[in-house]
Assembly symmetry: C2
Homo-oligomer: 328 residues x 2
């Protein structure tokens, strides 16, 4: 059997089963790993950027550096943790321009400054393509988990969805973005994504969120993971898609909701589960920190994920982006 | 300018200059990074295995897994630190056999059991070739540095040199190992290298070593790095090469010492600098822990690295294995 036959998520689970489980690691399958050590939690994450799998057409080197850091920070944001810093393993083709590699590192440095973390060192090696494998580390007393969503909670998202759905269609498909402003906006979003790290950290510090998950693997998939981990049912009532994004998808003859639910991802939006009594405080915090917060649904007793539209509920598939099954 | 024009070590230095320096990172350019945090040191290291650069011909998947962990542990051994565990970023070609990837992970698991560490999680991605990027983390009160060697110290090595020199010649060159026992021994050494981690940890704990460096980039290169960091002169008096290894290199018409000094590496031998009054205690510890310890030279005032042979000193070049300049 080939790895592409079983898909990324099943592969990860099989590989995790081969490894011995550390009794001090408290999360298991989650956005990050968290290890108890002398009364603290050591929180670590690695997400690798691979040129052939992750580089958008036209993606500049500085963007590769920036994004490789931000995609790791996104998982920390969803867990409410600010990392201290980390390392970067870099693979580069033999004939790579020194200037390009330096530009890539300038992108890394810019992202580190923006989010106040440090890269302490790492490794460089020749490789057949560009590989950027950052690992980030944080230390904390507590952490937001995937399993804390409770019936009655409200689900919120720290941003909108849809820009990457457009990007996938336009950069890898036959679709063309006619509006120059939208094209620029889409490129800015996919080349230099941002993540509301401080907001997540403050939300955890103030104990006003019950669970958190990164939505980067796709909205429908992430909601299913949250529902499974928390043993609850999730009802998606409102999917925030900017109107011009919606209009573009419709102009292409596509259903915006389907595109966003199943064919998006990499938006680096955090999804939090909040008790209703904490919702006002969370909105205040979001306003203070310039984060656009959207209530997207609610948590109920049960299992699975449903889409609610005009009082009718339809189940959502547990489908998302899978590197191992779909090629860009 | 291409990256292969400037070489790996100059590239690393240029990239480190682009990054902002964390005032809490105490080592700078060393085998690992060490960051002060709440009175402790957070010690981290990543060394990436890349198929096209690092895979020996015939290297089994379990060996790729094993070696990718051990090559990282080797740096921890040289610093006297036992890591707690870490993460692994894995890149695999789309058509890779699931069984091979599982075998690779079994190799990782075996190495983790042998050295009592855990892999907590990581990332998988499609890539053009096999990439294994482990990052290991330890926490400690103190650490051995490269800059602690003092004039009067004795230099010791935790193993012999030469097996990898034979391997490079035989597996990538036109040379043939005639003796079947030696061939098996060489393959065992390069496929499943070992590292005296506990010995390094005990040596630091008992305060009987002043400095440590991993010799994996080649013996001559590593001694130069140690001399530079400690601002001392190093005199290499004895290079431990097993007699049958020596005989094989000579039978090929090669000078064993030159091969070992400049064309070896990846032996995962730690080199420590020891005050003469602690030498007995260190040898006792080595005996207790079944480590073959060899006195290889001494530290003097001055700079550079010399080879001493029959009372004549000749300078050694700062030359070693460079991924970016030499292809296997």
């Amino acid at each position: 059997m080939k790895v592409c036959d079983i898909g990324e998520f099943l592969l990860i689970k099989r590989l995790l089963e081969i490894l011995d489980r550390d009794p001090h690691e408290i999360l298991g399958y989650d956005d990050v790993s968290a290890v108890k050590f002398q009364g603290k939690l050591l929180i670590v994450k690695t997400d690798m950027f691979v040129e052939s799998a992750d580089r958008w057409p036209g993606m500049p080197f500085s963007s590769i550096g920036w994004k490789s850091i931000v995609m790791n920070l996104s998982d920390f944001a969803a867990k409410g943790i600010k990392p201290l810093g980390g390392l970067v393993s870099l693979g580069i083709p033999k004939d790579a321009d020194l200037a390009s590699v330096e530009e890539l590192y300038e992108g890394i440095t810019k992202a580190c400054r923006e989010y106040e973390i440090y890269i302490w060192g790492g490794d460089t090696s020749l490789a057949k393509e560009i590989i950027v494998a950052p690992m980030l580390i944080g230390i904390s007393d507590k952490i937001l988990r995937r399993n804390g969503a409770r019936p009655g909670d409200v689900l919120v998202a720290t941003g909108t969805f849809g820009y990457t759905s457009i990007a996938y269609k336009a950069l890898f498909g036959r679709y063309k973005i006619e509006n120059e402003d939208l094209r620029r906006e889409v490129l800015e979003r996919i080349f230099y994504p941002k993540v509301p790290l401080k907001f997540g950290v403050e939300a955890l510090k103030n104990n006003i969120v019950n669970a958190g998950i990164d939505s980067s693997d796709g909205l429908a998939w992430s909601l299913h993971e949250l529902a499974k981990a928390s043993k609850v049912k999730i009802v998606l009532e409102n999917t925030p898609i900017p109107s011009h994004v919606c209009a573009q998808l419709k102009a292409w003859g596509l259903d915006p909701l389907t595109s966003v639910l199943y064919e998006g991802g990499e938006e680096y939006v955090s999804i939090y589960s909040v008790s209703p009594e904490n919702l006002d405080e969370l909105h205040c915090l979001a306003e203070k920190m310039n984060v656009d917060l959207y209530a997207i649904g609610k948590v109920e007793e049960g299992s699975g994920v449903c889409l609610k539209k005009e009082d009718r509920e339809t189940p959502l598939e547990a489908k998302g982006w899978d590197h191992f099954k779909y090629d860009k």
